[in-house]
Symmetry: C2
Subunit: 333 residues, 2 copies
Amino acid sequence: MAEKKGVEKKYSIGVDLGGTNIVSAIVNCQGKIVNSLKVPTLAERGKEATIKRIIETIHENIIQSTIALDDIIGIGIGAPGPLDVKRGIINFAPNLPGWIDVPLKKKLENEFNMKVVLENDANAAAWGERCFGAGQGVNNLVCFTLGTGIGGGIIIDGKIYHGNNYGAAELGHMTVNKDGPRCNCGNYGCLEAYSSATGIKNRIKNRIKEGIKSKFLNFDNDDELLQSLRLKSIFESARKGDKLTKGVVEEAISYLGIAIANIANILNPEMVVLVGGITNEGNKLLIPLRREVKKRAFYSNCKSLKIVIGKLGGNAGVLGAAALLWIPNNCSC
Amino acid sequence: MAEKKGVEKKYSIGVDLGGTNIVSAIVNCQGKIVNSLKVPTLAERGKEATIKRIIETIHENIIQSTIALDDIIGIGIGAPGPLDVKRGIINFAPNLPGWIDVPLKKKLENEFNMKVVLENDANAAAWGERCFGAGQGVNNLVCFTLGTGIGGGIIIDGKIYHGNNYGAAELGHMTVNKDGPRCNCGNYGCLEAYSSATGIKNRIKNRIKEGIKSKFLNFDNDDELLQSLRLKSIFESARKGDKLTKGVVEEAISYLGIAIANIANILNPEMVVLVGGITNEGNKLLIPLRREVKKRAFYSNCKSLKIVIGKLGGNAGVLGAAALLWIPNNCSC
């Protein structure tokens, strides 16, 4: 009984560092958030100001939780990359201006005097789903994070797979059409340019420029209005047969299906977990997606593959970050 | 000294089972072939006849080598798949008619009374290059086998990566163009349909049908002549600016570059090793290939990636098969 009490006393802190918000959450050994805090990143105020905000948010999170410092194992951070997981350094972050080679792990270790682990945000989300979400008990899974951009996390033999220099799982930058639209990464025809929220909106914008009109959505060439439009409205309009959005949505799903089929043929995982805004479409996304994968992947690789939507919603990253602190390759503290 | 002598006494047998030939080789602990034998598979004579030929070839190989049975650790077989590595069963082999769920491991164990390991032929080639060829000491590498078809092998953390049900590394069936030509696997626009020897020849055939003529090669609509043509002649003719072959060769290289860039972004390996007929082109292949990868892969993933040609030529598979018997995850016996 004493042992059980001991385990229950353990917590870790998960931090999700994004371009828009910082989320800090205290997570117990069962993967439940006992207290969390979300504050705007205010990245435009510069690197030092953002680091200060991260530190203050974690402090406030601890205070609000009333949990003793001794009961907290450490801090796990999911951050945009590229980053050096081993040394805990963010090399560069497109959405955090001025962040070049920032030793975030060391800074937080000095401040909190506890263990700190830094991880790529998409890997953290994959790890969250692996530990507490759709991928519980699954040792080989691939997670696609479908948001403004597209990221990914690969779990092999129950561990996050990093590759040779922490650059693995850049799933959004798989070339799916060699002559496709230019992507932010400099390449042409990346998955992200078709199937991310930004990609979908850019493709719609281009069609508006070509003179194609929507029956349901009226943008009046107002780019801000288009950018603020929710994916839900775009998908609904496409389903109603709208000329403007239909082709774009179908292409987004088709290319995502190709990317998943490629992952099935390359890695033969047990499960592909999809997280991010677009997954709100549920079966309206999954059914055509599975059809595309079936058309393209090897029979046995496809037959054995579960393609599912994550169960943790927006908390996958923060929960996964917290679980980085626990016994390596294990989802228990 | 006695210990060293012991090691030197150990051998294993590598078998490369192909649609055209069976190769059996006795390999010492340093990865040297001490005796090898190559016989035609004669697959058209049926499954039982081929199994008998495999057994006879191995027996003959042992006899010729004059090595005592006690000094042979076991038999490793590289075979076309899909196959079940764990149970040692070939589920199906397109080039071996009638081979459905053949328990080859068990059959050879019964015959030779020694340990037998079955592996996918492309994985065996990857393992050969990892142990004795271009990938010595490299723990994360991906091998493309570029022949009649295109296969692959993925080495992660120094081990062959099999995936959930032994279906990983089907690199030739990555979709690189969603509306591309039909592939033997049923999908459209697979890498294999563009960059394998068969793919290249089929694309040339289609261009001949479209009325495009070659300045250097004269097929007279003779398909047999085309099929017998060596890749070397096709590449040479393309380099001379031949209208018929140039576009096909450029496309073959470009799509192979895309596939490697995708692997770089997905797996971030330390090395990509290319084996098979097309690699005879050497730098004439490598230079445009590296250019394409650089254009498409993430900077740091590409910068750290070595793209090289295998060092074992046609022996990669048989050497890798022999090394399957040794200490797991290790390339020494």
